[in-house]
Symmetry: C2
Subunit: 340 residues, 2 copies
DNA sequence: TTGTATGCGTTATCAC
DNA sequence: GTGATAACGCATACAA
């Protein structure tokens, strides 16, 4: 994030180069801009002079002449993490912090900075602004929805990726949360549970559909009744969701939660009511946050490599040449602890 | 974060305004730039014309003429959270995520963006770059050290604040962790504990000195032996620190940890060894992370309003007029739960 | 192929 | 006070 070109005035200008090369400014300009119609010898002389003088074109003057805006030099600019959500408080999710940190780390290797921005569910104007800003090297959409993907500013395409759902134009990077759900639910099934409820995430979040759907499929495949309650990733939602489940389906003997925070919320309700975990009700989460290991009982949960996913997304933006070879789908591993 | 001025060409130029106002470009320019020597009637005419045409000076042309770089328009630019630390992984601390999110929320109200950057302990060059970048509206230093504060780029002064220690030139915002330490330690003392150890934070972090010092003062004031082990905010450090404490001072009956993660690391060691918490050893933490309430036993800990602190720091940067009236020191409240 | 001349939109320096 | 006019540094039709 140097932006050197803006402030430090170049020590030499085009006319200096031209004079040293023994040509006119026009010729020097032509050579330097790579325009056609320059003799090899003129080109060599200009290039040598430019090299010698360590010439750096003044981006402001160039922008004025060209009629364009000032463009960032290679190695400048920033990557912005654009988090889609119902309210600005979405930014407070620990998930976001992890992603931003990971992006910051890889961006630094490319001389880029990181930005964090909230985008409302109908926030195409925010994306429009990002698209208009030449200093935005790339945008990482987080938790985006279909609508946003559909009317994405066209000039953003090619420098936007998504963590969550994608589209033909925007490559997506995500955890295999369908697989994670399957691992957790089948584990619960194999350990003899049948009355399995799911404390799901926000229903508007499309990338979660794989998770809920897999649960639904598994339950109907086994011929058992599905018990799904939506939530919002908070532990409060886990608590109210658990309460609702207990009320509607008193015989429930296992719960799969969309994330660890929700699982912990559920567990707190359970222990408060004297329900034993896992003896009476088994609980499985998803994310494998640090506390999952420290809690007692230890939370059985699926890993969620948020940092790796975000870093990969950032790399795809900053190093387009390797983008195709990057993993797009990240596996989750079920970590068996005590709650299930 | 509009940066509109860069890309969208102004629809009207200075000459248009001048023509409509019936004056020369020179006069129009003088009026618009606020230079001296303009007649009231000329000023009125120009202002009216500019208003009518919705005139916006082209920043690129202005920059070229003025010889400066392109400056952000009022309401543009960004605030960067500069986290000081030994390695880039410092960025992964949940504390950082919370701070960035909070800053992002208030920055948005001012049309500013947020950036996140890592600054090494000897990272004056990184700060130099930030100072040179006119698009940086302000810098929020996090966990800074004295050295960095001493050779801060001079032109950064006035748009840099600190979360942690400050200096005469850079206002600091921080939690009262001395008070937090006192509340926790005296609580332990009042509940009959005497052999109180402290699992401290990184020794290089100056803003933590108030915390450790208060513990030391309290212990020596009571005439008891101090037992302090440094760590690094991780739960791993809590585990190894707890092990060390147990080894060196087997009769320890209470522990105050610099943060909740460290406290949980200590507790896991304790429970693994069959030591009962709080019966045998009481544990108090600091931060009051969400998990502190959900863990069982619930963690007794001091609140740490990171979000409010960061938001206030951002406000001080973006609204200098109210900066003096902003709180600089944020109280911590001891939340009594089960571990102490 | 090369050089000349002019434009990009503003600010600053002059005379007036 | 005001209006020409020359920078600012570069790009590019156009003429040579």
């Amino acid at each position: 994030m140097a932006f050197r070109a803006f402030t430090d005035r170049a020590d030499s200008k085009l006319s200096d180069v031209a004079r040293l090369a023994g040509v006119s400014r026009s010729t020097a300009s032509r050579v330097l801009t790579g325009a056609a119609g320059t003799s090899p010898q003129a080109r060599a002389a200009v290039l040598a002079a430019a090299e010698k003088l360590d010439y750096q074109a003044n981006p402001v003057a160039r922008a004025l002449a060209i009629g364009s805006g000032v463009l960032p030099a290679p190695g400048e600019g920033r990557v912005v993490v654009a988090v889609v959500g119902a309210s600005r408080e979405t930014l407070r999710d620990p998930y976001v912090g992890t992603a931003v940190a990971a992006v910051a780390e890889v961006a630094e290797d490319f001389g880029a900075g990181v930005g964090l921005e909230w985008v409302s569910l109908a926030g195409s104007s925010a994306l429009r602004r990002l698209a208009d800003d030449p200093w935005v090297r790339g945008v990482i959409l987080v938790n985006t929805v279909e609508e946003l993907l559909l009317d994405l500013p066209l000039d953003l395409i090619g420098r936007v990726v998504s963590i969550g759902i994608g589209s033909p134009e925007v490559p997506s990077f995500d955890v295999d949360n369908g697989g994670a759900a399957e691992a957790a639910v089948t584990h619960l099934m194999h350990s003899g549970r049948r009355e399995i409820a799911m404390l799901a995430g926000p229903s508007w979040l499309p990338c979660l559909r794989r998770q809920s759907q897999r649960y639904l499929d598994l339950m109907s495949g086994a011929g058992w009744e599905a018990r799904l309650v939506p939530g919002d990733f908070t532990s409060a939602a886990g608590a109210t969701g658990m309460t609702a489940v207990l009320h509607r389906w008193p015989r429930t003997d296992a719960v799969f939660a969309t994330c660890d925070a929700t699982a912990f919320g559920a567990i707190s309700v359970l222990t408060h009511r004297g329900v034993r975990v896992p003896d009476d009700i088994a609980v499985a989460g998803f994310d494998d946050v640090p506390f999952a290991a420290q809690a007692s009982p230890g939370l059985t949960t699926g890993t969620h490599p948020v940092g790796r996913i975000a870093a990969t997304a950032a790399l795809a933006l900053l190093e387009p040449t390797v983008a195709d070879r990057l993993p797009r789908f990240f596996g989750s591993e079920l970590v068996l602890r005590e709650t299930a």
